[in-house]
Subunit: 502 residues, 4 copies
Amino acid sequence: MSHEITSAKFASDKSLSHPLWSGDFYNEGTGKDDIFDTLKEECGVFGVYGHSDAASLSYYGLHSLQHRGEESCGMCVADGKEFNYHRGMGLVKEVFDKDKMASLVGNMSIGHVRYSTSGDSRLANAQPLIFKYRDGDLAIATNGNIVNAPQIRHELEQSGSIFQTTSDTEVVAHLIARSSKNVVEAAKDALARIVGGYAFLIMTNDKLLVASDPHGLRPITMGKLGDSYIFSSESCALETVGAELLRDIQPGELLILDKDGLKEDRYTEPQRKALCAMEYIYFARPDSDLNGSNLHASRKRMGSRMALESFVDADIVTGVPDSSISAAIGYAEQTGIPYELGLIKNKYTGRTFIQPSQELREKGVKMKLSAVRGVVEGQRVVMIDDSIVRGTTCLRIVNLLREAGATEVHVRITSPPFKNPCYYGIDTPDRKELIASNKTVEEICREINADSLAFLSPEGLISAVGGDNANDPSGGLCLACFNNDYPTTLDFGGEEKAGCGC
Amino acid sequence: MSHEITSAKFASDKSLSHPLWSGDFYNEGTGKDDIFDTLKEECGVFGVYGHSDAASLSYYGLHSLQHRGEESCGMCVADGKEFNYHRGMGLVKEVFDKDKMASLVGNMSIGHVRYSTSGDSRLANAQPLIFKYRDGDLAIATNGNIVNAPQIRHELEQSGSIFQTTSDTEVVAHLIARSSKNVVEAAKDALARIVGGYAFLIMTNDKLLVASDPHGLRPITMGKLGDSYIFSSESCALETVGAELLRDIQPGELLILDKDGLKEDRYTEPQRKALCAMEYIYFARPDSDLNGSNLHASRKRMGSRMALESFVDADIVTGVPDSSISAAIGYAEQTGIPYELGLIKNKYTGRTFIQPSQELREKGVKMKLSAVRGVVEGQRVVMIDDSIVRGTTCLRIVNLLREAGATEVHVRITSPPFKNPCYYGIDTPDRKELIASNKTVEEICREINADSLAFLSPEGLISAVGGDNANDPSGGLCLACFNNDYPTTLDFGGEEKAGCGC
Amino acid sequence: MSHEITSAKFASDKSLSHPLWSGDFYNEGTGKDDIFDTLKEECGVFGVYGHSDAASLSYYGLHSLQHRGEESCGMCVADGKEFNYHRGMGLVKEVFDKDKMASLVGNMSIGHVRYSTSGDSRLANAQPLIFKYRDGDLAIATNGNIVNAPQIRHELEQSGSIFQTTSDTEVVAHLIARSSKNVVEAAKDALARIVGGYAFLIMTNDKLLVASDPHGLRPITMGKLGDSYIFSSESCALETVGAELLRDIQPGELLILDKDGLKEDRYTEPQRKALCAMEYIYFARPDSDLNGSNLHASRKRMGSRMALESFVDADIVTGVPDSSISAAIGYAEQTGIPYELGLIKNKYTGRTFIQPSQELREKGVKMKLSAVRGVVEGQRVVMIDDSIVRGTTCLRIVNLLREAGATEVHVRITSPPFKNPCYYGIDTPDRKELIASNKTVEEICREINADSLAFLSPEGLISAVGGDNANDPSGGLCLACFNNDYPTTLDFGGEEKAGCGC
Amino acid sequence: MSHEITSAKFASDKSLSHPLWSGDFYNEGTGKDDIFDTLKEECGVFGVYGHSDAASLSYYGLHSLQHRGEESCGMCVADGKEFNYHRGMGLVKEVFDKDKMASLVGNMSIGHVRYSTSGDSRLANAQPLIFKYRDGDLAIATNGNIVNAPQIRHELEQSGSIFQTTSDTEVVAHLIARSSKNVVEAAKDALARIVGGYAFLIMTNDKLLVASDPHGLRPITMGKLGDSYIFSSESCALETVGAELLRDIQPGELLILDKDGLKEDRYTEPQRKALCAMEYIYFARPDSDLNGSNLHASRKRMGSRMALESFVDADIVTGVPDSSISAAIGYAEQTGIPYELGLIKNKYTGRTFIQPSQELREKGVKMKLSAVRGVVEGQRVVMIDDSIVRGTTCLRIVNLLREAGATEVHVRITSPPFKNPCYYGIDTPDRKELIASNKTVEEICREINADSLAFLSPEGLISAVGGDNANDPSGGLCLACFNNDYPTTLDFGGEEKAGCGC
């Protein structure tokens, strides 16, 4: 890991007529204000084995994972004979009503929340995907991405397979269905064939299978509620349904649950643990634990470490809500500079919200985020954020603070510069759009109109994360987006597949 | 074809406390009043080749075929590069709005309306089904049923295929995708492999294929609108979009439309023409033409013939709306007995309508159909209906007329007794529920509380249909539901599949 | 009543490029195809006194009156203590669901269906209107129009009244509330003060009042169901709920229903009976009875009389659906010319339907109504319609028949020429838009592109209507739209109010 | 103001099987989890004068006031000739879509968001209310309650007025309409007649009137955006639309805006300033300013003062989200005890959310709020909340913390004990349900299962609020809910009216 200059300081341009301001603040095409859309979430999964009200638990569990995917959701419940399922576009509370829930009878279930990826928010891709095959019914829910899915898909198509979705999940279903082995062995073969970062929930009429990729890139945890087992992308959903967190699923592991109980098996040898660092930095809820480490506490440590690495004298510390609140508290605690609510997010904004016209925006109408003049005016502000992707969002927030009267804005990012796309389930822009891949810290500081800018060092990040892998030099983390060190091969002779394959 | 006694006459039971009255008038389970649900429709298809506004034409075309399927609908439009599609539950006017229509760009399209079959009204089965396969995109819309679909599906599953729907259409997609030939040859092989009654619209990124089964069991017509070709289950939809009716697709025919224009090919030799007689009797709109014969005119001839075969002296003739209006007019014209609106259907009743409680029904609340007291009171009524399936509906209507003061009710059915289930796309009950399969005409007459009852003879039906096949002894019709003479083999060593496979 | 020339015959213009064709076929502004919108309905009311499930009866009753108003509906139920009510935009089946119905508890109710009038379809105007006043709760539902409402409203405003709707009903509520008498006496005073054509249902916490205007211009009938009383704009709704028709409410009558039973009172002396002739000709359902005369039978007689007055030799008779079917049957029966379904209406068209673009319409896309080529082609057609308002609709239908191959089209209108606006509840255009007010029959015939045209004579209409007032020279009818003989004064020194005041 | 004992400390009952636990955590009747519903909001208003896109500004303004009322909303826009308006049930983003917005043309508008009050969430009560009266159109939007509305309403009804809503606003409309003076003078008379706490926006076709009650009980602020004036219940909405905050409307003030510009008038002499203290403590957004004081800053000072008044040694400080976050930060800052996210609120929970069954709740399913085990486990927790109403919510949150492993829970309430109902617009329970009105602090402490409990003193509250009235002994606040000192008379010889009259 190379040491790089991760902080900068200079007189910023305090004029607000910045050329970027009106350029891409709002994405007119998608109707979305992308102020919080810097990185797209990569879906969440939730599974239940052995509870008579599996559907209700899934409803509350998926609701707790809603931040991992707001666009579509679904669940499939097995009653021993057949699958009962429902999928739809929208939030959990919108897609499922009492009538729908009443029809979802069974004691085993898998569920899914999904984020939109560009231009592909069709209902057909909503998970779990449901198939009929030789041995009965098959349902699959995934979080993550299969890097070599295009190659496998091509091979399958050449030998006559048809596909109804663009999801990686369908590739795995074909591999299982084509095997002459039983579903457990077939799933092992299929998982051994694919390369990527993923958590899989696979359900047949009488079995639930749970798998994590060989590096444990995507999180998946196991809990217990009475005699039943619960599986969730994040532990917060276990807490919500009253389940006790048992442990994280290990790299290369395959759990099989059926009438014989829980069998802990594996489909490959574990490889170096490389859990997505962005889960710690940005995605997971602060009340989740990952690898033995609470997220709020980890983020507070990122803030503290940031304060030690790049202290700046100021009047107040504020965090960009919601993801950077914890880090801001940590920074404030470490430095003694008061933590304030300098930025407020409007909790009612959502899909159906009408965005202001260009003219109104230019006149100052702002919706999702506002800077609090009564807090910020006349103050030197340390603004804590979790990452900078294109830089445009950061610029806008700095400008909001300046408009509200901040005399200085010092930006502190609780992650290293984001330079490389993700191939394991996070929807990142091309490298040429990643500002840190193309500009120096000084240039970025100027671009975002900050008085100073600093990123957290990789070492700082690793030390802040802590948890079970604290002794591993890389902290058990995948840091590829920062250091280009991808845990899997990306070379398949053809197109490899970035982004999210859920 | 055996000659059977098809009329009966005796003193009916005029008391209204008939044991069947409250038994199954309303289907509480489905929330449906099945007074008009005696036979379920078997879907409709509509295709466009070579029109810049293919989607709009499809919208109006499918709307005209709405009577063939009210539960779900969909269309897929090809723009030369990719497929744009939308499917949903509900009527055409509910599923498609201006925004959806605006996104359906392209000059080739296929569309579908679908009726629910029991317990299986999932959105996943809404057509057209869309697949990705080796050579690109594939969309298929079907009307009909493949008798040997279970066997083929079993074979495909054994060799590793997965299925996402219960539709026969998916079987055909697999057969095409697994072939090593080009799509036209692959489609020919697939069609040669299946047995049943069907019309298929198959679309790739640059081709539209149209096929009819070897007996022409299900109708499919071709029209021309300027330089573009239009295909529709019924000619009424051609008229709606201003297209000129060219001809019906012939048994065993496969039309291929692509940049080289229209190629008239076939995948098998034609076998004896056997178009579904129920299309003439009940399903098709009166403004459609089938095999050169207008439906309203055919039905009037059925009424006239009925009058000749089973005249009864009476004061008025009334038809059960909407399907028996034409026949009633014919009967009245032939006999000189005045045709009257003795029965009125409420046009606003539909899916969301709240059915009256048992108590209110017993007190006389009636919704879908009412007898017009001012017309019927004190009159001897000839009531014309198209068919008797279980007999319960007919009983109710007779009783409605009696309650409204009819002194005699003579039922005349413009088809032979319905005795055998359909394997070619009509959702019929089991043979043991078909009243004509289990009772004599006298018994049925008593059961439906009529003063007399007569069915049209098969010969009468054939002569009334007329059209292009008037010289064929069977009139070019499939009469299997009446005479058990199925045009295809039904023997596949396993389960054969009745009903509708759309 | 002057005798005028009401028929014409000459060589029509058979070219289809008629200047009117593309002009106003579709009303782009309202998104409506006004092909059937020649005259707007004037609302319907339904009341129940003394039935434990008053709301359910109202649901089915209003559903049966749906043809009188498709835009909004509502009902208010009294449980002795308070009012439970619900109103909404849309059809009865759309506005009321099971949850809503469950909340509508009580044994007395009034309900309403309402047609939109131009630009004023706000929910605020949906009836019944509900008020709180000195003596408790007050609900009012109306069918009709108060000619002097503007004057009364002006006076009320001058003395401090505020209005929340544009409905005449609110005027009456103010008059009642301002009186120092009890509600019955106050209602009598209020009704004596207003001039117009109306039926009123007025409900307090313990009383139901039913009133008809002094001329009985708008229909309102009374029925009995067990011990409860039912009131309905048309008798078809009585039949639907199983109630027995007792009689029509008489001009100037005020019925009072309360714990003392039914009291038959009146607020003024009856004046000459003048029931709206258009109810017979066009509005009421064929299964309703008005003044002792069944509507289907009356309309058949109009067709028969038409045949006697203006016979023309032809091959087929067809009626414009739905309102002219009965008359066409009568014409056919009288002449022996076969009655055929030459025109078909698409039953699925409705509010949400997307209208074809101008371009598609010019290319022949047609939606609501189609001419049946198989019936019409090569035939001389007698086309029966109920009225001609602006003439544009009639022209379009004639052209549809010609396009479908009719060789001659003879139009027979079963009413006299419509020359004068209605001030009693029908939404008619200005006199300058009424074609019969501005052109001779010959000119109209040319305008609508017919081979010949004839209107029914007023005498013919009166004789066809029949019923209780057959001996009255005017048949107990208001014929003002034909003969300018308005039963009430229209002179109020200011603006009088045409159209519908519901 | 009496000095009372406002803190308590003793060994709490740490068992979780507390009798209150399952009793009323969820309100099954309303389908609401009332964990955050301790006090109901009292509506919000937003007005625009002189901006060509008044409707869009109102949309964003009302959206910023959404926290003040989530149940219904509406706006009315004047274009100089007529009113264009829309109202509906639901959030701003749900009620208004692009089509609706496009129809709301005009440069003057008033809007409203409304909270439900028990059993009375009818659409008819959605504001602004719109009236027609002698001088044209009148629209009114209110925040607050008129104590003597029942008396005035009774008088109006006695003299013949009718009411269509239960809203106080309608009373004011009647008073204005009945006056013979012009609308400004009539409004002054009407406002002088009513007693209560309120902010009024009154719009005619050419004037906008803005009024605050004589004590300024409910907040209403004025801002400027270019040449246009903006009025809002809270300043956060001014900030959102880019307007500059000018000042708060003063007690007894009446602003008149018309073609002559802004006229600052008054309808009565100002009385002692008594702005609702709960606005500071709980209701207003932290980014709003009231009387020159930023809410976040005020709440931080409440937390600091709390720390001085009732320090307790502990490991972490946590606030109940969202309203107590600021105070918790202040407490932490003052004491040096770390501020942590010990409680997390699920941001996706809302109206349509399905509540867990009793069985699932007993098994630990929790939805809206969760305690973060990784933060709380093994810690002594100071839990900051804004108020205790019935005590049940507080008990639940304490128990959540204990279940998550907190070893001690010390509750600090940043307001004095809430003992008296509000008559000025806040929907409070009866005095007998207010726990502080019936129990000592020690008893409450035991009831909520806390290790210690303390309330902020009234003096502490006044000093923390600060702002323009810092020198006033009562801080310019209404503290009646704490000290029973109501600023207005409540004695009207009859029923006075508590709660919210919007």
